[in-house]
């Protein structure tokens, strides 16, 4: 249950090894979160993440979860809720893919969509339904500024995030007034293992900044948070750039 100051006590992370998610989990454990469930593909990294949070005083469960296997999502997520209320679900899994290679291998490109969008839809719905049944809680979905307008350099990933983003917005509107809060998180370039080796870009940010924005957005019940905040204006400008010009931009 959230307390009067909006601090949650329990957290389910879908994509349990995500750097952004774990940084957020650490920030929340430093406040009132005591129960953390890390759902992800079993790995040493996932166990290490659990141990790290245990070391910070949380009770941590590890649950096997593969975003690419939507048939299992409902059962896996329902079991987590059956063991106790979840105040916040953080949908964090995602793959960046390799645009150039994926463009030449359609099946590989489809896998990016399978994880980011298809997996997001089934896991997002399963989580939202469970939250509705308990009559309270929040679902934070990590989208990306890349979904705001697909760029030629990154449109496969970008389109999956566009789909996920639209899905989460609609879900949020559907659930408005039921006690379930859906929040879309749109980070720009974040220095994590996902972007390792990629050249830095303007407005690049850190997992800590994203975590802070998520925690604050949940407390304020924001429906969308941009990280860094300037992206809201950058993207609203970019959205209106005419196609012929946008096409030529080197971004």
């Amino acid at each position: 249950m959230k307390d009067a100051l909006g601090a949650p006590q329990s957290l389910l992370v879908l994509g349990g090894t995500s750097e952004i998610a774990l940084t957020t989990a650490r920030a929340m454990v430093a406040e009132r979160v005591r129960r953390v469930v890390l759902a992800g593909r079993p790995s040493a990294g996932l166990e290490a993440a659990a141990d790290d949070l245990r070391g910070r005083g949380a009770t941590v469960e590890v649950v096997a979860f593969d975003a690419a296997e939507p048939d299992d999502h409902e059962k896996t997520i329902d079991e987590v809720f059956a063991a106790g209320d979840i105040d916040v679900v953080l949908l964090a899994f995602g793959v960046l893919g390799d645009q150039d290679a994926d463009a030449k291998a359609p099946a590989a490109a489809a896998r990016v969509a399978q994880v980011n969008y298809v997996g997001g839809v089934s896991a997002g719905l399963a989580a939202a339904n469970a939250l509705s049944r308990q009559g309270h809680g929040a679902l934070a979905v990590i989208s990306s500024v890349a979904g705001e307008r697909a760029r030629k350099s990154n449109f496969i990933y970008g389109s999956t995030k566009a789909g996920l983003d639209a899905f989460a917005q609609g879900l949020g509107d559907k659930l408005h007034g039921t006690g379930v809060h859906v929040m879309v998180v749109r980070p720009g370039f974040v220095r994590t293992k996902m972007t390792e080796g990629l050249p830095d870009v303007p407005l690049a940010t850190t997992p800590e900044a994203v975590a802070e924005a998520i925690v604050k957005g949940l407390r304020r019940k924001s429906s969308v948070v941009w990280v860094p905040g300037q992206f809201r204006f950058v993207m609203s400008a970019l959205r209106h750039v005419p196609r012929p010009i946008f096409r030529k931009l080197n971004i």
Binding site: A4, L5, G6, R32, D85, R133, G135, H136, G179
Partner: protein, 461 residues
Amino acid sequence: MSDGPSADVRPTARRVRLNGWGRTAPTFADVVRPTTREQVATALGQRTSRGVIARGLGRSYGDPAQNGGGTVLDMTGLDRILAVDLERGLVTCEAGVSLDRLIELFVPFGFFVPVTPGTRQVTVGGAIGADVHGKNHHADGSFCNHVSSIDLLLADGTERTVTPESDPELFWATAGGMGLTGLVLSATIRMTPIETSLASVDTDRTRNLDEAMALMAETDEKYTYTVAWLDCLAKGANLGRCVLTCGEFAALDDLPAKKRRDPLRFRTGSLLTVPDLVPGRLPNKLTMGLFNELWYRKAPKHKVGQLQSITAFFHPLDLVQEWNRVYGRTGFLQYQFVVPFGREDGLVKAVETISRHGAPSSLTVLKRFGPGNAGFLSFPKPGWTLTLDFPTNTPGLARLLRELDEIVLTNEGRFYLAKDSRMDPADLARMYPRLERFREVRAKVDPDGVFVSDQARRLGL
């Protein structure tokens, strides 16, 4: 047969957003408003796996009368007086009857409720669930000290009459048990005889906290009702200055001749409603500082024998209905703790911390508790209790409250569950040494955890 609506007109459940008086942490639940015992039993039988909790008038500040995703039984429909024994001052009534109603009905017959909180808009069920206390705690104890019998509907659907003699374990688990042992259907209360409906009140203004504490220690045994209002924004030599009011129901002889003709006359007073549209930032440090100053100045330095109405003396806040709306959308929280006698340093430190922080608590109340009762989760124990309330958007509030938590814990203090909306669950067992016994009783009468609230989930009660 009951005289209410026939049992086959079943009240339907509605999914409703619920919060406590502080208007924080809302959740959605299926609310049913039964009007007969049969309907209560039916609603209990129709529960889902998310369980059931009773709700009275929702005057608890946090989430004890909420049950996200589950059933909440609005008990205010059980509002009948079942038996009255004016000889012995015994009233048996259903759990949804408010103290307001009891006062209105019985003051004219020369009886007052044995204990009243700072608002009389609470139900008998809520008064038992939180084992509420009032200005007379040092003299008379808390509400359940004056309850001789409770009809309780248990998780398995059976009804049991519980008295402190017949089933002390269940009685004292229910007293202060925050609705988690079962549904109180009705109770028998020993009322307090009064000769008049007016309180004779003595008021004293003290320059600081030390002076207030000394005076309170001295006056407690002389008066049945005492309480001090504290200016938590005052600093330095004025730290913790108070307005102390002490009173007694006036005897017939205390009244001027004119009033003696109708000594038990009782009127509620006019009510004013605060609209929902007040901006969320109204009470702030500046306005509260001003308000505190005025309140303090307005009080006489020393005055005796002033006659005050029940409302003016016991329930001044009730004159403004839904005053909780002045805090606007963000809501507010109450922070009430008790530290035992001998731990005055802790109290002083807490007041210093609040004053240093400059947090604008509008209603800060200081009171001395007498002995506690056997209630496993009953709040009062001998010592000093301080009640504060803060808008939740007060800057740095979370940090300030953690600092205060630490002071309360190291001084063997504890928090009041009816006011709690944010305590650290890890602190609970230390504060309530009889928590395990409470859990044992609950495990016996409700092994599947049918009765559950948001607060119970939040604190792992």
